[in-house]
Amino acid sequence: MIEQLYLFARIAGTRVAVRSNEIEAVVKLADIAPVPAMPLHIAGLSALRSRVLTVIDVAALIEGRVTPAETGRLAIVADIAGHSYGFMVDSVSDICTTPDGELPLRGQLDPCWAAYARGIVEDGEGPSILVTLGAFIEPRQLPVAA
């Protein structure tokens, strides 16, 4: 069996890991066209060649604070249910396998992460929260941008 690869990134200052098969690419976003009348965490639309990404401000989803829009931000690109999304991240560190695989959660997780955490993945630098990208786009009741 091929060992599972994980992408290690940082969202809202927290280390997260994403299974590599969920990911299509990591890109620097061009201009983001804002979409009005949307929940806070939907940063807008961004063109990637002839595709249009719906850009999700994951940090806003977690912390409720909108990340200032600027070009050149890193985003993880993924196709979910036929639509392309870009998930904004602070930084990306590595793609690698882990010796121990996915570990169960321990300790008391911050409630804002609880909805997204699937477990813990440890690499050489320490633990990361394992997340699935699909969870970030599930519809939920959220404050709407004023």
Partner: protein, 788 residues
């Protein structure tokens, strides 16, 4: 799986689908030889193919069916309902087997012999006969015509579609780049050609995505027949509009809701024959399913003449289930009560039957229809029937759209949704706010007014000019007015579906990537209206009255062009007299014989105002025409087109001015066209027109190749043939001997040419054809004679 086998299965399943309605139609009219033949052909094909594919069960079934049908064909057996049911059962079994083979499942182990026995049994059971067969009017065309076709995977077509969409984007970008550069007609021509090709290709590819609604209807006759037989009801089914085309994916999406509605109609709507007789209706119920295209929507109507929906029972059910309280019911309108049928868990059916009421209610139907951007509407007539209307979009791929700006952002809106665009400052419009509700009155029709920025919660940007107001018509509701910063452009947009997160807002219909690379959202006109909870009450009376008033007003108004004279006055001239306005090179103006003229299109036109020289290189001029004559009227600039009263406010009877009118508080002089044309010289500057030489025999090679170039070189215009002589007074005829002079048009100077250097007799006035000087002199003399 073996390719051959896969093809066979695919083909069999498709044929089955197409045949289902044929069989039912055949049952209704057993004498229909064409349908019988097509069914027979199906079994024959199946039998033939499965022989070498080694599918014994298929072979046995199809063989038995073929036998029975061939008996029917020879007339030794009639196509009674029993036979038809047995044939249908065999077709169903073949379908099941085919499904099983394609999915790789083990073949359902049922006794085929039972079915085959059923086929062989002659009409023995009497009770089967009293359930009358439903008469089905299915369209006759269709399967009998063979169209050459190949099978393609859908993904390939989607890929093509995407490719063409990208091509359209690239073309748009190229066109923008070309506009920025200096114009090069050759390059533009080539680009035009490319552009046309791309457009044609896009149309063709779009067509591959389209499918006849027939496919949607194919399963209905069979379903109606089976359910009606089960329930002992008689139903006449009418299908209409099967040739309407809609997007393949849309067809897929509509199948389930439509099936459900038809089932409901038969099960709950149309009554049993006894009941219908008691209600004074014919025993046979009518069910009509029709499709038509309306703009960019497909309208599917399902109409039955059954018992309709009992609204009071809906209400009592909702109340007993604790969903509604009495005081809420008291406030509800009839329409809202009827809408309860879309509430989950509420049905007027008393008991759950096998046909409908399997927990899938109208709530699911509505959800499915709305998910694809459709609308469902009910028209209930208790005791007399129900009409259900589904409106679904035709396709959402490429639509003409307008680009609008609001709150500093750009949005697209389908052009079909826009009725009218005007500026806020337009006189025809007035804006009032009452109790927070903004109302825009446009030509006496009152519209709800919303501002796009408010709906989208965007900040209003400060702007210099007036805002733009659009009258928007949504797919279901009534028109409303929407204020935006500006309407910027009109473009063909490739629409892609937006992600569910964005669609959830309810105001967007999709997104598009225009050639500037900035993604843009497509607004949903209906969604915007419902997001603002606009009242949906039509204001028809006012509109009609307004139209009548407007028509009455228009009678004594006339359109006029407002322009600035070279001497600085603003004047008006009736628009109807102005053929066109154009910028003319100042060097084309000149004077001859004391008259001013301008050289246009190879003719000289008199100039109305002799003003000598012009400043600048181009002169703006009005070209006026009184029916026969044309004059040129130079002006400083054209200002506007205005409505002016036919009677001036102050009449002047002398000079070139007819009077003075007051428009927008300004006094404007009105030019008198009568005086204008009267002051012009009657004889146009005809002397300047070159004499035309007409060669009488158009087929003479010498005349074409040698004479005509010589004449043209000498400054004459040349015509070959005498066909249009009458229209040109200054013509001179040239004959080259072969033509009979009597056959020529009379009253024209004729010059006869001969091919010998010497004249045949002294009276011969013809000219040797290579005598250049003689020829030229003769033409000169003739043309002077004609002019005099």
């Amino acid at each position: 799986m073996d390719d051959l086998l896969a093809d066979f299965i695919q083909e069999t399943l498709e044929n089955l689908e197409a045949l289902a309605s044929e069989v039912v139609a055949w049952e209704a009219d057993p004498s229909d030889q064409v349908r019988l033949d097509s069914i027979f052909r199906f079994f024959h094909t199946v039998k033939g193919s499965c022989g070498f594919l080694n599918l014994p069960r298929f072979e046995k079934l199809s063989h038995a069916a073929e036998d029975v049908l061939s008996e029917v064909r020879t007339g030794s057996r009639t196509a009674d309902p029993h036979t038809v049911s047995a044939v249908l059962a065999v077709m169903d079994r073949i379908g099941e087997l085919a499904e099983a083979v394609s999915s790789g499942a083990s073949l359902p182990n049922e006794n085929d012999d039972y079915l085959i026995q059923g086929l062989k049994k002659r009409e023995a059971k009497a009770e089967v006969a009293d359930v009358a067969a439903p008469a089905v009017a299915a369209p006759r065309e269709g399967q009998s015509a063979t169209i050459r076709s190949i099978r393609l995977p859908l993904t390939l077509i989607d890929q093509l579609m995407n490719g063409v969409s990208d091509m359209v984007l690239a073309r748009n970008e190229l066109s923008r780049k070309l506009r920025e550069r200096a114009n090069d007609p050759e390059l533009e021509g080539a680009f035009e050609r490319l552009s046309t090709c791309v457009a044609d290709m896009r149309d063709a590819i779009s067509k591959t995505r389209m499918q006849r609604v027939d496919r949607l209807f194919a399963a209905i006759p069979r379903m109606v027949r089976d359910i009606a037989r089960d329930l002992g009801k008689r139903i006449e089914l009418t299908l209409d509009g099967g040739d309407v085309e809609m997007d393949r994916e849309m067809v897929e999406m509509v199948v389930d809701p439509l099936t459900h509605i038809v089932r409901n109609a038969i099960d709950h709507g149309i009554e049993a024959p006894d009941e219908r007789r008691k209600a004074g209706k014919p025993e046979t119920g009518n069910l009509r399913v029709s499709a038509r295209q309306s703009g960019n929507q497909i309208v599917i109507e399902i109409v039955d003449d059954g018992r309709g929906i009992d609204v009071s029972r809906l209400v009592s059910k909702a109340m007993t289930s604790g969903r509604l309280t009495a005081d809420v019911v008291a406030r509800m309108t009839d329409g809202e009560k009827l809408d309860l049928v879309f509430q989950p868990g509420i049905s007027t059916a008393d008991k759950v039957t096998a046909i409908s009421g399997r927990g899938v209610g109208m709530d699911v139907v509505r959800a499915n229809v709305e998910r694809i951007g459709g609308v469902i509407a009910l028209e209930n007539d208790l005791g007399r029937g129900l009409r259900i209307t589904l409106r679904v979009p035709l396709t959402l791929t490429i639509i003409p759209g307008l680009i609008i700006r609001a709150g500093g952002q750009h949005f697209a809106i389908p052009r079909a949704a826009i009725v009218e665009i005007l500026h806020e400052t337009n006189e025809m419009m007035s804006l009032v706010t009452i109790g927070g509700a903004a109302i825009a009155t446009i030509r006496n029709v009152r519209h709800s007014m919303i501002d796009l920025e408010d709906v989208l919660r965007l900040p209003r940007q400060a702007q210099e000019g007036p805002r733009t107001v659009m009258v928007v018509r949504s797919s279901s509701g009534i028109p409303y007015a929407m204020g935006v910063e500006a309407v910027e452009n009109h473009e063909e947009l490739v629409i892609r579906p937006a992600s569910p997160l964005i669609m959830a807002a309810g105001v967007y219909a999709g997104m598009t990537l225009p050639d500037n690379g900035q993604p843009m959202l497509l607004l949903d006109a209906g969604g915007l209206a419902s997001a603002c909870n606009l009242p949906s009450l039509t204001d028809d009376g006012v509109q009609r009255r307004a139209e009548e008033e407007a028509a009455a007003e228009r009678v004594d108004q006339v359109s006029a062009l407002r322009f600035l004279e070279l001497t600085g006055e603003e004047r008006l001239l009736k628009l109807a007299l102005i053929e066109r306005v154009e910028d003319i090179d100042a060097s084309l103006f000149g004077r001859a014989a004391g008259k001013a003229f301008v050289r246009l299109d190879g003719r000289l036109l008199p100039v109305a105002k002799d003003c000598g020289t012009f400043d600048g290189t181009m002169v703006t001029a009005l070209r006026l025409r009184d029916g026969e004559r044309e004059i040129c009227y130079p002006v400083a600039s054209v200002l506007d087109i205005v409505e002016m009263p036919t009677e001036p406010d102050m009449l002047l009877t002398r000079g070139v001015l007819a009077g003075v009118v007051v428009i927008d508080g300004a006094h404007l002089e009105v030019l008198d066209p009568f005086a204008l044309f009267a002051s012009m010289p009657v004889d146009d500057i005809t002397e300047e027109r070159p004499t035309r030489c007409v060669v009488a025999d158009p087929n003479d090679i010498w005349a074409q190749e040698i004479l005509a170039p010589l004449l043209r070189q000498a400054g004459y215009s040349v015509a070959l043939g005498t066909d249009d002589m009458a229209s040109q007074p200054g013509d001179i005829l040239l004959c080259t001997g072969a033509v009979d002079p009597q056959a020529l048009p009379q009253g024209k100077p004729v010059i006869q040419l001969r091919s010998t250097p010497r004249a045949a007799n002294p009276r011969d006035t013809s000219i040797y054809r290579y005598d250049r000087d003689g020829l030229m002199a003769a033409i000169e003399v003739a043309s002077r004679g004609e002019a005099a």
